[in-house]
Amino acid sequence: MSASRTLLVFLAGLVLGSAVPSGAQPRDPAARGKYIFAAAGGCGCHTEKDRVDRGLNAGGRRYDGPFGTVYATNITPDPETGIGKWTDEQVITAIRSGRRPNGERLLPVHPYPTFNGMAEEDLRTLVAYLRSVKPVKRANTPKRISVPLFESVFLPAWLAYFAARETPPPTAPVSGLARGEYLARAVGHCGECHTPRTVTMSLDNSRLFAGNPKSRGPEGSAVPNITPDRDTGLGGWTEEQIVDYMATGNKPDGDVAGGLMGEVIQGTSAGYKDLTRADLTAIARYLKSIPPVKNRIGE
Protein backbone atom coordinates (compact mmCIF):
# COMPACT_ATOMS: atom_id res chain seq x y z
CA MET A 1 0.00 0.00 0.00
CA SER A 2 1.37 3.45 -0.90
CA ALA A 3 2.10 6.04 1.80
CA SER A 4 -0.69 8.33 0.56
CA ARG A 5 -3.21 5.45 0.61
CA THR A 6 -2.06 4.50 4.11
CA LEU A 7 -2.57 8.08 5.25
CA LEU A 8 -6.03 8.11 3.65
CA VAL A 9 -7.03 4.92 5.46
CA PHE A 10 -5.66 6.33 8.72
CA LEU A 11 -7.61 9.57 8.33
CA ALA A 12 -10.76 7.65 7.41
CA GLY A 13 -10.35 5.66 10.59
CA LEU A 14 -10.11 8.83 12.64
CA VAL A 15 -13.29 10.21 11.11
CA LEU A 16 -15.21 6.96 11.53
CA GLY A 17 -13.81 6.48 15.00
CA SER A 18 -15.19 9.84 16.10
CA ALA A 19 -18.67 8.56 15.24
CA VAL A 20 -18.34 5.71 17.73
CA PRO A 21 -20.90 6.20 20.51
CA SER A 22 -19.76 7.87 23.72
CA GLY A 23 -20.44 4.55 25.41
CA ALA A 24 -18.65 2.27 22.92
CA GLN A 25 -20.57 -1.01 22.86
CA PRO A 26 -19.43 -4.61 22.39
CA ARG A 27 -20.33 -6.34 19.13
CA ASP A 28 -22.21 -9.36 20.53
CA PRO A 29 -25.96 -8.52 20.77
CA ALA A 30 -26.35 -10.23 24.14
CA ALA A 31 -23.37 -8.34 25.53
CA ARG A 32 -24.82 -5.08 24.18
CA GLY A 33 -28.15 -6.09 25.66
CA LYS A 34 -26.51 -6.59 29.04
CA TYR A 35 -25.34 -2.99 28.86
CA ILE A 36 -28.91 -1.83 28.24
CA PHE A 37 -29.98 -4.09 31.11
CA ALA A 38 -27.40 -2.30 33.30
CA ALA A 39 -28.70 1.09 32.19
CA ALA A 40 -32.17 -0.02 33.27
CA GLY A 41 -30.81 -0.69 36.77
CA GLY A 42 -30.46 -4.42 36.25
CA CYS A 43 -34.22 -4.88 35.96
CA GLY A 44 -34.12 -5.54 39.67
CA CYS A 45 -37.89 -5.55 39.95
CA HIS A 46 -37.81 -9.01 38.36
CA THR A 47 -35.32 -10.52 40.80
CA GLU A 48 -36.12 -11.16 44.45
CA LYS A 49 -33.74 -9.52 46.89
CA ASP A 50 -30.75 -11.69 47.77
CA ARG A 51 -31.59 -14.16 44.98
CA VAL A 52 -29.41 -12.83 42.16
CA ASP A 53 -27.27 -15.97 42.13
CA ARG A 54 -30.17 -18.40 42.23
CA GLY A 55 -33.00 -16.55 40.58
CA LEU A 56 -31.83 -13.75 38.26
CA ASN A 57 -34.92 -12.44 36.44
CA ALA A 58 -37.07 -15.24 37.90
CA GLY A 59 -39.69 -12.85 39.31
CA GLY A 60 -41.54 -13.13 42.59
CA ARG A 61 -40.94 -9.69 44.04
CA ARG A 62 -44.10 -8.32 45.59
CA TYR A 63 -45.59 -4.88 44.91
CA ASP A 64 -48.54 -3.52 46.85
CA GLY A 65 -50.60 -0.69 45.43
CA PRO A 66 -53.99 0.98 45.80
CA PHE A 67 -55.27 -1.57 43.28
CA GLY A 68 -54.09 -4.65 45.17
CA THR A 69 -50.92 -6.74 44.97
CA VAL A 70 -48.88 -7.88 42.02
CA TYR A 71 -45.77 -10.02 41.79
CA ALA A 72 -43.01 -9.52 39.25
CA THR A 73 -43.01 -12.14 36.53
CA ASN A 74 -40.41 -14.64 35.46
CA ILE A 75 -38.55 -13.20 32.47
CA THR A 76 -35.95 -15.95 32.22
CA PRO A 77 -35.97 -18.06 29.05
CA ASP A 78 -37.66 -20.98 30.82
CA PRO A 79 -40.15 -22.32 28.25
CA GLU A 80 -42.85 -23.25 30.78
CA THR A 81 -42.78 -20.47 33.37
CA GLY A 82 -40.75 -17.72 31.67
CA ILE A 83 -40.53 -16.10 28.25
CA GLY A 84 -38.79 -19.01 26.55
CA LYS A 85 -41.64 -19.60 24.07
CA TRP A 86 -42.28 -15.92 23.34
CA THR A 87 -41.05 -14.43 20.10
CA ASP A 88 -38.78 -11.39 20.17
CA GLU A 89 -41.70 -9.26 18.99
CA GLN A 90 -43.86 -10.50 21.83
CA VAL A 91 -41.20 -9.68 24.41
CA ILE A 92 -40.70 -6.21 22.93
CA THR A 93 -44.48 -5.63 22.92
CA ALA A 94 -44.63 -6.55 26.60
CA ILE A 95 -41.73 -4.23 27.47
CA ARG A 96 -42.94 -1.13 25.63
CA SER A 97 -46.71 -1.65 25.27
CA GLY A 98 -47.59 -3.72 28.30
CA ARG A 99 -49.38 -6.55 26.50
CA ARG A 100 -48.76 -10.26 26.93
CA PRO A 101 -48.93 -12.62 23.94
CA ASN A 102 -52.45 -13.60 25.03
CA GLY A 103 -53.53 -9.94 24.94
CA GLU A 104 -53.63 -9.50 28.71
CA ARG A 105 -52.63 -6.02 29.80
CA LEU A 106 -49.75 -5.64 32.25
CA LEU A 107 -50.15 -3.33 35.19
CA PRO A 108 -47.87 -0.32 34.76
CA VAL A 109 -45.94 -1.29 37.85
CA HIS A 110 -43.84 -2.42 34.90
CA PRO A 111 -43.36 1.09 33.48
CA TYR A 112 -44.17 0.42 29.87
CA PRO A 113 -45.33 3.98 29.08
CA THR A 114 -41.77 5.04 29.93
CA PHE A 115 -40.02 2.10 28.30
CA ASN A 116 -41.93 2.99 25.14
CA GLY A 117 -39.21 5.62 24.76
CA MET A 118 -36.53 2.99 24.11
CA ALA A 119 -35.10 2.64 20.63
CA GLU A 120 -35.89 -0.52 18.67
CA GLU A 121 -32.26 -1.61 18.44
CA ASP A 122 -31.79 -1.37 22.19
CA LEU A 123 -34.93 -3.39 22.81
CA ARG A 124 -33.72 -6.13 20.46
CA THR A 125 -30.34 -6.38 22.13
CA LEU A 126 -32.04 -6.37 25.54
CA VAL A 127 -34.15 -9.33 24.43
CA ALA A 128 -30.97 -11.08 23.25
CA TYR A 129 -29.53 -10.67 26.73
CA LEU A 130 -32.72 -11.82 28.48
CA ARG A 131 -32.57 -15.00 26.39
CA SER A 132 -28.96 -15.58 27.38
CA VAL A 133 -29.42 -15.83 31.16
CA LYS A 134 -30.01 -19.12 32.92
CA PRO A 135 -33.62 -20.35 32.63
CA VAL A 136 -35.28 -20.73 36.02
CA LYS A 137 -38.42 -22.76 36.51
CA ARG A 138 -40.55 -20.60 38.79
CA ALA A 139 -44.27 -20.24 38.21
CA ASN A 140 -45.59 -16.69 38.35
CA THR A 141 -47.61 -15.77 41.42
CA PRO A 142 -51.08 -14.56 40.40
CA LYS A 143 -51.91 -10.94 41.12
CA ARG A 144 -54.62 -10.03 43.61
CA ILE A 145 -56.66 -7.05 42.44
CA SER A 146 -58.89 -5.64 45.14
CA VAL A 147 -60.66 -2.93 43.11
CA PRO A 148 -63.70 -4.14 41.13
CA LEU A 149 -63.52 -3.47 37.36
CA PHE A 150 -59.93 -2.28 37.80
CA GLU A 151 -58.41 -4.07 34.81
CA SER A 152 -61.42 -3.79 32.51
CA VAL A 153 -62.41 -0.17 33.17
CA PHE A 154 -60.10 1.85 35.39
CA LEU A 155 -56.75 0.76 34.01
CA PRO A 156 -57.58 1.42 30.33
CA ALA A 157 -59.03 4.81 31.29
CA TRP A 158 -55.95 5.68 33.37
CA LEU A 159 -53.64 4.69 30.54
CA ALA A 160 -55.66 6.68 28.01
CA TYR A 161 -56.05 9.90 30.03
CA PHE A 162 -53.23 10.06 32.53
CA ALA A 163 -50.24 7.99 31.45
CA ALA A 164 -47.82 9.99 29.31
CA ARG A 165 -46.00 7.71 26.86
CA GLU A 166 -42.41 8.48 26.01
CA THR A 167 -41.73 8.74 22.28
CA PRO A 168 -39.09 6.36 20.93
CA PRO A 169 -36.29 7.88 18.87
CA PRO A 170 -35.64 6.50 15.37
CA THR A 171 -32.24 5.35 16.66
CA ALA A 172 -30.68 5.50 20.11
CA PRO A 173 -28.76 8.78 20.57
CA VAL A 174 -25.06 8.12 20.97
CA SER A 175 -23.69 11.24 22.63
CA GLY A 176 -24.41 14.59 24.18
CA LEU A 177 -27.53 15.80 25.97
CA ALA A 178 -29.71 13.65 23.72
CA ARG A 179 -27.88 10.57 24.98
CA GLY A 180 -28.21 11.68 28.58
CA GLU A 181 -31.91 12.41 28.18
CA TYR A 182 -32.51 9.06 26.50
CA LEU A 183 -30.70 7.15 29.23
CA ALA A 184 -32.31 9.08 32.09
CA ARG A 185 -35.88 9.30 30.81
CA ALA A 186 -36.37 6.08 28.87
CA VAL A 187 -33.85 3.33 29.61
CA GLY A 188 -33.01 4.32 33.19
CA HIS A 189 -36.66 5.31 33.74
CA CYS A 190 -35.48 7.65 36.49
CA GLY A 191 -38.77 9.53 36.40
CA GLU A 192 -40.72 6.50 37.58
CA CYS A 193 -39.28 7.15 41.04
CA HIS A 194 -37.96 10.72 40.87
CA THR A 195 -40.83 12.54 39.11
CA PRO A 196 -43.69 13.65 41.38
CA ARG A 197 -46.88 11.65 41.12
CA THR A 198 -50.25 13.34 41.01
CA VAL A 199 -53.28 12.32 43.00
CA THR A 200 -54.11 9.89 40.17
CA MET A 201 -50.58 8.43 40.54
CA SER A 202 -49.60 9.58 37.05
CA LEU A 203 -46.26 11.31 36.47
CA ASP A 204 -46.26 15.11 36.64
CA ASN A 205 -43.67 15.72 33.94
CA SER A 206 -44.08 19.49 34.34
CA ARG A 207 -41.94 18.93 37.45
CA LEU A 208 -39.65 16.34 35.92
CA PHE A 209 -37.37 14.62 38.46
CA ALA A 210 -38.46 16.85 41.36
CA GLY A 211 -38.83 13.97 43.81
CA ASN A 212 -41.59 12.24 45.75
CA PRO A 213 -42.49 12.14 49.44
CA LYS A 214 -42.86 8.79 51.22
CA SER A 215 -46.57 8.65 50.52
CA ARG A 216 -46.04 8.72 46.76
CA GLY A 217 -42.63 7.08 46.41
CA PRO A 218 -41.90 3.51 45.38
CA GLU A 219 -42.30 0.93 48.15
CA GLY A 220 -43.14 3.71 50.58
CA SER A 221 -39.77 5.43 50.22
CA ALA A 222 -39.18 9.15 49.84
CA VAL A 223 -37.23 9.90 46.64
CA PRO A 224 -34.92 12.91 46.24
CA ASN A 225 -35.32 15.90 43.96
CA ILE A 226 -32.62 15.51 41.30
CA THR A 227 -33.30 18.73 39.43
CA PRO A 228 -30.52 21.34 39.61
CA ASP A 229 -32.34 23.44 42.22
CA ARG A 230 -29.66 24.69 44.62
CA ASP A 231 -31.73 24.49 47.79
CA THR A 232 -33.79 21.34 47.32
CA GLY A 233 -32.17 19.46 44.44
CA LEU A 234 -28.73 18.60 43.11
CA GLY A 235 -27.74 22.21 42.40
CA GLY A 236 -24.92 21.98 44.92
CA TRP A 237 -23.43 18.85 43.34
CA THR A 238 -20.87 19.05 40.57
CA GLU A 239 -21.24 16.99 37.42
CA GLU A 240 -18.36 14.81 38.62
CA GLN A 241 -20.08 14.16 41.95
CA ILE A 242 -23.24 13.03 40.17
CA VAL A 243 -21.18 10.72 37.97
CA ASP A 244 -19.29 9.33 40.97
CA TYR A 245 -22.54 8.72 42.80
CA MET A 246 -24.05 6.69 40.00
CA ALA A 247 -20.80 4.80 39.47
CA THR A 248 -20.06 4.00 43.11
CA GLY A 249 -22.94 5.03 45.37
CA ASN A 250 -20.61 7.49 47.15
CA LYS A 251 -22.15 10.85 48.01
CA PRO A 252 -20.10 14.05 48.39
CA ASP A 253 -20.65 14.10 52.16
CA GLY A 254 -19.25 10.60 52.63
CA ASP A 255 -22.61 8.88 52.87
CA VAL A 256 -23.22 5.88 50.63
CA ALA A 257 -26.39 5.09 48.70
CA GLY A 258 -28.75 2.58 50.21
CA GLY A 259 -32.34 1.49 49.72
CA LEU A 260 -33.75 1.33 46.21
CA MET A 261 -31.07 3.61 44.73
CA GLY A 262 -28.38 1.41 46.19
CA GLU A 263 -30.10 -1.52 44.51
CA VAL A 264 -30.13 0.03 41.03
CA ILE A 265 -26.56 1.26 41.29
CA GLN A 266 -25.42 -2.23 42.23
CA GLY A 267 -27.97 -3.80 39.91
CA THR A 268 -28.37 -7.54 39.59
CA SER A 269 -26.06 -9.06 36.99
CA ALA A 270 -25.33 -5.45 36.03
CA GLY A 271 -26.40 -2.01 37.19
CA TYR A 272 -25.72 1.70 36.86
CA LYS A 273 -22.22 1.08 38.22
CA ASP A 274 -21.41 -0.73 34.97
CA LEU A 275 -22.17 2.18 32.68
CA THR A 276 -19.29 3.90 30.96
CA ARG A 277 -17.98 7.14 32.38
CA ALA A 278 -19.07 8.80 29.14
CA ASP A 279 -22.68 7.69 29.54
CA LEU A 280 -22.78 8.63 33.22
CA THR A 281 -21.40 12.03 32.28
CA ALA A 282 -24.10 12.41 29.63
CA ILE A 283 -26.76 11.65 32.27
CA ALA A 284 -25.18 14.09 34.74
CA ARG A 285 -25.01 16.83 32.11
CA TYR A 286 -28.62 16.23 31.21
CA LEU A 287 -29.70 16.44 34.86
CA LYS A 288 -27.83 19.72 35.17
CA SER A 289 -29.60 21.05 32.07
CA ILE A 290 -33.25 20.47 33.02
CA PRO A 291 -35.31 23.20 34.72
CA PRO A 292 -34.63 23.47 38.46
CA VAL A 293 -37.74 22.76 40.53
CA LYS A 294 -38.02 23.83 44.13
CA ASN A 295 -39.44 20.81 45.95
CA ARG A 296 -38.01 19.83 49.34
CA ILE A 297 -38.27 16.13 50.08
CA GLY A 298 -37.82 15.70 53.82
CA GLU A 299 -38.72 13.12 56.45
Binding site: K49, G211, S221, A222, P224, N225, D229, R230, D231, T232, G233, L234, G235, G236, W237, T248, G249, N250, P252, D253, G254, D255, V256, A257, G258, G259, L260, M261, G262, E263, I265, Q266, K273, R296, I297, G298, E299
Partner: protein
Protein backbone atom coordinates in the same frame (compact mmCIF):
# COMPACT_ATOMS: atom_id res chain seq x y z
CA UNK B 1 -8.51 -13.27 118.47
CA UNK B 2 -5.35 -15.02 117.41
CA UNK B 3 -2.66 -13.40 115.18
CA UNK B 4 -3.54 -15.87 112.45
CA UNK B 5 -7.20 -14.97 112.43
CA UNK B 6 -6.34 -11.23 112.42
CA UNK B 7 -4.10 -11.74 109.38
CA UNK B 8 -6.79 -13.76 107.58
CA UNK B 9 -9.36 -11.14 108.34
CA UNK B 10 -7.11 -8.35 107.05
CA UNK B 11 -6.44 -10.27 103.86
CA UNK B 12 -10.15 -10.78 103.35
CA UNK B 13 -10.84 -7.08 103.81
CA UNK B 14 -8.10 -6.12 101.37
CA UNK B 15 -9.21 -8.64 98.74
CA UNK B 16 -12.85 -7.66 99.17
CA UNK B 17 -12.04 -3.99 98.78
CA UNK B 18 -10.03 -4.70 95.66
CA UNK B 19 -12.90 -6.69 94.18
CA UNK B 20 -15.42 -3.94 94.86
CA UNK B 21 -13.08 -1.35 93.34
CA UNK B 22 -12.65 -3.47 90.24
CA UNK B 23 -16.38 -3.89 89.85
CA UNK B 24 -16.93 -0.15 90.11
CA UNK B 25 -14.17 0.54 87.60
CA UNK B 26 -15.51 -1.98 85.06
CA UNK B 27 -19.05 -0.63 85.30
CA UNK B 28 -17.66 2.84 84.61
CA UNK B 29 -15.67 1.48 81.66
CA UNK B 30 -18.75 -0.26 80.23
CA UNK B 31 -20.79 2.97 80.29
CA UNK B 32 -19.49 4.22 76.93
CA UNK B 33 -21.04 7.21 75.19
CA UNK B 34 -23.86 9.42 76.28
CA UNK B 35 -26.22 6.63 77.25
CA UNK B 36 -28.47 7.43 74.30
CA UNK B 37 -27.64 4.75 71.70
CA UNK B 38 -29.60 6.50 68.93
CA UNK B 39 -27.70 9.78 69.34
CA UNK B 40 -24.41 7.92 69.75
CA UNK B 41 -24.83 5.82 66.65
CA UNK B 42 -25.87 8.81 64.56
CA UNK B 43 -22.73 10.62 65.70
CA UNK B 44 -20.65 7.52 64.96
CA UNK B 45 -22.09 7.20 61.46
CA UNK B 46 -21.40 10.88 60.75
CA UNK B 47 -17.82 10.22 61.77
CA UNK B 48 -17.69 7.19 59.48
CA UNK B 49 -19.03 9.30 56.62
CA UNK B 50 -16.52 12.08 57.28
CA UNK B 51 -13.66 9.57 57.24
CA UNK B 52 -14.95 7.97 54.04
CA UNK B 53 -15.21 11.40 52.39
CA UNK B 54 -11.64 12.10 53.54
CA UNK B 55 -10.46 8.78 52.09
CA UNK B 56 -11.94 9.65 48.73
CA UNK B 57 -10.38 13.12 48.75
CA UNK B 58 -6.97 11.65 49.57
CA UNK B 59 -7.35 9.03 46.85
CA UNK B 60 -8.15 11.74 44.31
CA UNK B 61 -4.97 13.50 45.39
CA UNK B 62 -3.04 10.19 45.04
CA UNK B 63 -2.20 10.37 48.74
CA UNK B 64 -2.89 6.69 49.33
CA UNK B 65 -0.66 6.05 52.34
CA UNK B 66 -2.49 8.76 54.28
CA UNK B 67 -5.71 6.80 53.91
CA UNK B 68 -4.49 4.34 56.56
CA UNK B 69 -5.42 6.52 59.50
CA UNK B 70 -8.96 7.01 58.19
CA UNK B 71 -9.34 3.30 57.48
CA UNK B 72 -8.21 2.54 61.02
CA UNK B 73 -10.89 4.89 62.34
CA UNK B 74 -13.50 3.11 60.26
CA UNK B 75 -12.41 -0.23 61.74
CA UNK B 76 -12.57 1.11 65.29
CA UNK B 77 -16.01 2.61 64.70
CA UNK B 78 -17.24 -0.63 63.18
CA UNK B 79 -16.43 -2.49 66.40
CA UNK B 80 -19.02 -0.41 68.26
CA UNK B 81 -21.84 -0.77 65.77
CA UNK B 82 -23.73 -3.82 67.12
CA UNK B 83 -23.69 -2.46 70.69
CA UNK B 84 -25.26 0.79 69.50
CA UNK B 85 -28.32 -1.02 68.20
CA UNK B 86 -29.71 -2.61 71.36
CA UNK B 87 -33.15 -4.22 71.28
CA UNK B 88 -35.85 -1.65 71.77
CA UNK B 89 -33.93 1.19 70.11
CA UNK B 90 -36.07 1.28 66.95
CA UNK B 91 -37.42 4.83 66.75
CA UNK B 92 -38.90 7.29 64.27
CA UNK B 93 -35.96 9.55 65.07
CA UNK B 94 -33.49 7.30 63.30
CA UNK B 95 -33.24 5.67 59.89
CA UNK B 96 -32.69 2.21 61.31
CA UNK B 97 -35.11 -0.30 59.85
CA UNK B 98 -36.76 -3.06 61.91
CA UNK B 99 -34.94 -5.55 59.66
CA UNK B 100 -31.85 -4.93 61.83
CA UNK B 101 -33.38 -6.84 64.70
CA UNK B 102 -35.28 -9.26 62.49
CA UNK B 103 -32.05 -10.30 60.76
CA UNK B 104 -29.65 -9.62 63.63
CA UNK B 105 -27.02 -12.18 62.62
CA UNK B 106 -26.83 -10.69 59.14
CA UNK B 107 -26.57 -7.17 60.57
CA UNK B 108 -23.71 -8.17 62.86
CA UNK B 109 -22.01 -9.89 59.92
CA UNK B 110 -22.06 -6.75 57.74
CA UNK B 111 -20.77 -4.66 60.65
CA UNK B 112 -17.93 -7.13 61.11
CA UNK B 113 -17.28 -6.94 57.37
CA UNK B 114 -16.84 -3.15 57.69
CA UNK B 115 -14.29 -3.78 60.42
CA UNK B 116 -12.28 -6.41 58.55
CA UNK B 117 -12.37 -4.63 55.19
CA UNK B 118 -11.31 -1.38 56.85
CA UNK B 119 -8.41 -3.12 58.52
CA UNK B 120 -7.41 -4.62 55.19
CA UNK B 121 -7.58 -1.17 53.58
CA UNK B 122 -5.50 0.27 56.43
CA UNK B 123 -2.82 -2.40 56.11
CA UNK B 124 -2.69 -2.14 52.32
CA UNK B 125 -2.33 1.64 52.52
CA UNK B 126 0.40 1.39 55.14
CA UNK B 127 2.25 -1.08 52.90
CA UNK B 128 2.12 1.58 50.15
CA UNK B 129 0.41 -0.85 47.74
CA UNK B 130 -1.26 2.01 45.92
CA UNK B 131 -2.74 0.02 43.03
CA UNK B 132 -4.35 -2.40 45.45
CA UNK B 133 -5.71 0.48 47.53
CA UNK B 134 -7.27 2.00 44.42
CA UNK B 135 -8.84 -1.30 43.47
CA UNK B 136 -10.28 -1.72 46.97
CA UNK B 137 -11.67 1.81 47.03
CA UNK B 138 -13.53 1.33 43.77
CA UNK B 139 -16.06 -1.05 45.30
CA UNK B 140 -15.69 -0.29 49.01
CA UNK B 141 -18.61 2.11 49.34
CA UNK B 142 -21.07 -0.06 47.49
CA UNK B 143 -19.99 -3.44 48.77
CA UNK B 144 -19.10 -2.58 52.36
CA UNK B 145 -21.19 0.46 53.34
CA UNK B 146 -23.97 -0.36 50.90
CA UNK B 147 -24.17 -3.92 52.19
CA UNK B 148 -25.68 -2.44 55.34
CA UNK B 149 -27.36 0.69 54.02
CA UNK B 150 -29.36 -1.09 51.37
CA UNK B 151 -31.17 -3.64 53.56
CA UNK B 152 -31.05 -1.96 56.97
CA UNK B 153 -31.40 1.80 56.55
CA UNK B 154 -34.21 4.04 55.33
CA UNK B 155 -32.55 6.53 52.95
CA UNK B 156 -31.91 9.78 54.83
CA UNK B 157 -33.59 13.08 53.91
CA UNK B 158 -31.96 14.85 51.02
CA UNK B 159 -29.12 17.24 51.64
CA UNK B 160 -28.36 19.61 48.76
Amino acid sequence: MTVRSRVCGSVLVIVGTALVAAACASSEMMKVGSGDPVADRQRLMKNVGANWADIQAKAKANNFEAIAVNADTLALNAMHVPALFPKGSLTDKSKAKPEIWQKWDEFVKVAKNLETQSEKLRDTARAKKNDEVQAMLKDFGRNVCGACHTPFRVPPPQRS
